[in-house]
C-alpha cells in the first residue's frame, strides 16, 4: 500500500500541470442539454426562429418527455466528458404527458445528492423549465449555464 503514495503524489502534480495549461478564459465547456419534445425543444426552436444568438456550447439531445431522462444519461454524459448537463422540461402543469416533468424534477433532486458524492458540483447539472413560447428564456438559461460551467472550469478527472 505504501508504494502507492508517491504514485498518487505524482498524479496530483500532473493534474496541477494540466490546470496551469488551461487558460480558463479560453475554456469552452461541453454541455449536454436534454430537451423534451413538446415544450423546451419547441422553445429552442422559437429562439431559432427569432434568430436570437446564444452560446454554441450546449449540444441538444431530444427526448419525447423530460420523464424519459434516465439519471443514467446524465451520469453517462459526465463520464464521457461533459462539463455540464441541462434538463429542460415543460413548466409545472404544462407537461404534454401530464406529469413527466414532475418525475424529472424528482429524479434530478435525488441525482444531485449522488453527484455531490462523486465530487461533481451540483451547479453543473441544471434543471429548468422552458415553455414552447419562451425563446428568450431558453437563450438566457443557456447563456447562464455556460457562464456558470465556465467559472467552475473543466470537470476534474478523478
Amino acid at each position: 500500500m505504501q508504494s502507492s503514495v508517491p504514485a498518487n503524489e505524482e498524479k496530483l502534480d500532473n493534474v496541477k500541470d494540466i490546470k496551469k495549461e488551461i487558460n480558463l478564459k479560453d475554456f469552452e465547456p461541453k454541455i449536454i442539454g436534454f430537451l423534451c419534445n413538446w415544450c423546451s425543444y419547441a422553445g429552442a426552436d422559437k429562439a431559432g426562429s427569432a434568430q436570437k444568438p446564444y452560446s454554441p456550447n450546449v449540444n441538444v439531445i431530444k427526448v419525447m418527455c423530460s420523464g424519459r431522462i434516465d439519471p443514467q444519461f446524465i451520469l453517462k454524459a459526465f463520464e464521457k466528458g461533459a462539463d455540464g448537463v441541462m434538463i429542460l422540461a415543460c413548466h409545472p402543469g404544462d407537461c404534454h404527458y401530464k406529469e413527466g416533468n414532475y418525475r424529472a424534477v424528482q429524479r434530478h433532486r435525488l441525482l444531485l445528492r449522488l453527484l455531490g458524492q462523486f465530487g461533481i458540483e451540483k451547479e453543473r447539472c441544471r434543471f429548468d423549465y422552458v415553455s414552447a413560447g419562451e425563446g428568450d428564456r431558453f437563450v438566457a438559461i443557456i447563456n447562464e449555464t455556460v457562464e456558470t460551467v465556465k467559472k467552475l472550469g473543466p470537470l476534474k478527472k478523478v
Partner: protein, 692 residues
Amino acid sequence: MKTAVYFCSCGTNISDKIDPRTVEDAVKKSNADVIFKTAGFLCSEDGKEFLRKDIIDNGIEAVVIPACSPRDHEKTFMNVLSAAGVNPYMMQMVNIREQIAWVTEDKEKAAAKAINYINAAISRVMLQEPLEKREIDICSDAVVVGAGPAGLKAALSLAEAGRKVTVVEKSPTIGGLPVRYEEIFPNMECGPCMLEPIMGEALHGNASGNIEFLTLSEIEGVVGSYGNFTVKIRRSPRYVDTEKCIGCAECIAPCPVSSKNPFNCGMNDRKAIDFSFAGALPNVPYVNAGVCLRFNGGEGGGKENAGDAGDNGDNENAGLCRLCIDACPVGEEAFKFGEKEEILERNAGSIILATGSSLYDCRNIPSLGYAKIPDVYNSIEFERMLASNGPTEGSIKTADGGEPQSFAIVHCVGSLDKNHKDYCSGICCEYAFKFNHIIRNKIPSAKIYHLYKEMVIPGKESGGLYEHAVEDKNTVFIRVSDINGMTVKEEGNKEGEGGKKIVSYGLLRSARNSDHYCASGDNGNISVDLVILCPAVVPGKDMDKLAGILEVVKDKNGFFEELHGRTDAGRSKIKGVYLAGTCHSPMDIKEAMSEGMAAVGYVLSGLVVGRKLSIDPLSAVVNQDICSGCKVCIGVCPYKAVSFDEEKGSSSVNELLCQGCGTCVAACPSSAIKANQFTNEEIFAEIGIMTA
C-alpha cells in the same frame, strides 16, 4: 447498414452559416461508408423527388437529414422514406437551422456543432429499428353513461350518424336535472319542454332504432381499451314491461302503499308503482320493491288473488296484492314481477361519461340551519317547489302552509371558499335571478334579499334576469363578507315551528336598494320567511365508483379530470373515454349540450366505420425476461397503460394506451423497458459523440 446524409441548405438559410463542403469533408472523414449529398430545398417537390429517387437508386437503408427542425418536416421526410420503400422510422433529422445556423454567430463554431450533431445522428440512426404501425379492428358503437342533456345530445347525434349507442341511466327516467326545472335561465323556457324534442327523437325518431336506453342501470365493469371495450351493465328490475305498458297511469291510484319520492327530494310521496313525475320519459311507471306489498309479504286487494303476471303461476304468489294488475287495461302481461337484476354486456369502441353532478351538502355549513330549520331549502328543492308537477304543484309555501312574504336567496354557499369548494360554479347567480323573477310573478309584493359574495353572470343572454332584479324596488342586494360567518336562526326560539328566520351576516359593502343599510364591516340582520341556499356544484355521488371501474382520474375537487383543461377538455385521461357535461366541471345546460356534441366529434373522428385504428409505434415495450415484477412502472404511467400479469409475474405495456413518453423506461430499475425510437443505446450513442 447503408446510410446516407442529405444536407439541406434551405436556400441559403443554412448554407450562409454552415458551409456544406466543410461539413461533408468532416462527416466523411469519421464515417467513410456514409453517402453525403447536398440539396437546395429538400422539402420542395423537386427536393422530395430527388430524395426518394436517390434512396432507391443507392439502396439506402437509413437516412440522416440535417435541415430544419423536425417539428417542421419530420413527417414530410418520413413519408418520402415510405414512398421509397424504406421504413419511415429509419431516419433522424438534425436540427441545424433553428438550433445552429440561426443562433450561432461564429461560422466555424456553427459548422463544428453541425458536424458533431450529424455524427451523433449517424451513430444513432444505425441503431434504430424499423417500426411498424400496427392496425387493429374496432367496434364503432358507443356507450353513453347518463341520460341528461349532454348524454342525450351525444346519444342522439351518434345514432343519427348511424352508430349504435347504449345509454346507461341509473334513474328510471331520462332527461337528467333539467326535467326537474319548471323554467330555466336565461329565457324562462320550460325545462321539460326544451328537452322534449330531443328525448322524443331519441325514443321514437328516425334514428331511435340505433339507441338502446337502459334505465335503472349502472356500469358494473369495463375491460378492454380504446376501440374495443366490453362494458358490463347491471340493470335493476323495473317490474313493468317498457314495451307493453301504454303509460295510462291507471295502476297508480289503486296502489295502497307510498314512500318518499326521491325525484322531489323527498318532499312528497309516490306510490309503490308510480312515475317519478308527470311527464317522465320513458312513459312507463316503475315499482319500488322496497315498499310494494308483493315484495314485503303484505297481503293486498285484487280479484282472484291467485296466479300471477310474469311468474309461473305457482301458488307461492297466492294472496299477493294485485291491485295494479287488476287496474291495468293491458293486463298481466304489462307486469314483470318475476324480473330479476340482470348483468348485460355491450361492446363499444368509445365510452362517453355524462353522469352529471350534484349540489354541495349545505349541512357542511351548520350555521345556515339547512335540514334543521324548516323553510330553509337548497336550490333544487326550491326548483321542485316551483314546478307544477312538483310536491306543491308550483305554489310557494312555508312549512306551516302560509305564503312567504320575504325571501333570502343566499348565493355562493360553499363556493369560492378554501374551507369548502374553492371554485365558482358559474350558474348559481343566474338561477338565483331566475328564482327572483318567478317569485316576483307568483308573489308580487314579496321582499327578496340576495346575499352574495361575488356576482357572476356570464353570457350574452344573462343580463335580462339580472336587470329585472336590479330594477325591482323590493329586491335587495347585500354583498356579504363570508358565508361561513352567516347564521340562520328561528325567531323567538320556536324551534321547528316555522315562522320568521333571522339571517345574520357580515357586510362587505353597503347594500344596494337596501333599507337595511349598515356600514361596511358591520353585521346586519334580516328577517325572512323562506331561505334558499345556492350551493356549489359538486361531483355526483356515484362518481367514485365509476372512476374506479374505468380508472379515470379525478381532479382535486373530485370531478373527472380532463386530458387537457383547454385543448382537450372533452377527453379523459383514458383513451377512448370522453367527458361531457358537469361530470368534469360545473356548467350550464347550453355548455353541457355542446359538450355532448363535442364528445360525438371525438367518437366519429377517432373511430371511423370500416377504418382500422392505427397504433403509433413510439411506445414502450417490456422485456418479460428481464422484468423483475417490482411494479414501479405501473405507478408512474399517467395513462394506466402498464398492467401486471400476476401469473407471469411481469408487467406489460398496452401499446394502444401508451403515449410514448418514456417515463416508465426511465423508472425501471432493471432496464427492462425499451422506448421505441428512444432506446438507452440510441441516446448513449448520441451522448458519446456529442461529448467527444
